[in-house]
Structures are given as C-alpha cells and as structure tokens.
Amino acid sequence: MKEIIIDATRDNLSEVFVFLQDVLSEYNVSRKLARKIKLCVEEMYMNIVNCAYTSDRGKAHILFNTLGVENGETPLRAIITFVDTGVPCDPLSKANLDMESGLDDFQIGGLGIFIVKETMDDVGYEYKDGQNIFRMEKIIDLYAKD
C-alpha cells in the first residue's frame, strides 16, 4: 500500500500527480490507462479541495492499494481511496449529466464525478467518524497495449 497525506490545495495537485506517477511506474500500466486513472485522481482530489474544505484548510489522504498480485491473479485491481476530514460531501449524490441538453442549458456541475463514474469500474462513498471516504477501483490488464 502506498499513501500520501498532503495539504488539500489546488497547487498541491502537482504533488499528487508525482505520487501517482511513482505508484503506477511499479506496474505495467498502459499509457492510455495511466491517463484515465490520473484524470479520475485529479477529479476526486479537487472534489476535496473544492467541496470538503470550502471554508477551512485541511489534509487530503490518498491511499493506493492493489489486489491480485499476491495471488498471482491477473488482471490486477487498483483501489484508490481518498480521505478527508472536511464537511460531509458525497460526490455520488450529484445528479448525472443530462446528455441530451444543449449548449445553452448544459449544467456543468457534477462533471468531474460523472467522468469518474464512467471511467472507473467501481466507486463508493461513505461518511464515517468525521471523514469523507471515497473509494474507486479500476481493473488493470497488465498485458494491455496502448
């Protein structure tokens, strides 16, 4: 398990990217899939910055776990968990994008979580012991090519 605990600020997104790149470099993740995971990590980290800590500053705790390697199983399952102690903020409660709406009435709110739900294989949220806990899972085919 790899983790990073960092001040949840917009500027620290670059530190989160460095952490992710370091973690993913240990696996044979295709360039395309690495970009997708990076995109979802950005969306959920920025959800902490913009939603959980709107008035106060706080920490973001990101944990990267894998399942499958120990058992020699493929594909690998990557599980990324985001934890913060901000105000309760359930991204999954946001309405889905209206894919039929036009340019003038398109509601941009919820765009980030929509991308995450469409990209990841599984997502989940709970508020427990004063913490927002968001978990997302992606199956990684170690033999995939770009």
Partner: protein
Amino acid sequence: MKYEKSSDGRSLNVKLIGEIDAVNAMDIEGRLLREVDGVTDLVFDMTRLEYISSAGLRVLLQMQKLMKSKGNMTIINVSDDVMDIFRVTGFVRLLNIEK
C-alpha cells in the same frame, strides 16, 4: 502547458500543448477572455494536447458559449485521449469539433 497563438485580424488560432488541469485552467481561461475581444473566428488546435480534465472542459464550454454570440469556435486535430473525454462527457455534441 504551453499556449501558442497566431492572429489574423478577427481570427485567432490557439495551439494548446501539454496538459490542462485544475491548476492551469483558470490562467488559460483568463488569457482567452482577454484575447478574444474583437475575434469572430476562434480555432483551438489540439494536435499536442495530451490531457484535459473537467477544469479544462469548463473553459472550453464557456468559450463555446461566448463565441456563439460573436462568431465561430472550432476545435481541430483532437488526439484520441482527449476525444475519449469529449465522448464520455457528451462534449462531442456541445463543441464544434472538426474531424
């Protein structure tokens, strides 16, 4: 992130190079809003744009809405990775993308 522009009267061509994320999207938006004054034909060349998050999509959506009342906005040379995001989010319908 690099931003290269060429201007010809009322036309503005902007090459977006690298990655647009939550850190640099607001800077790009501010620069665009300053530079589209008087522009009726805005073109984004995304040949070398490798990554865009929702923060960047918001900028494109705002510019598309703005240019709708001023003229045209066209996106050209979109990479496969960026096109994937346009498709997932439905932006292929909202933006004027030249294929």
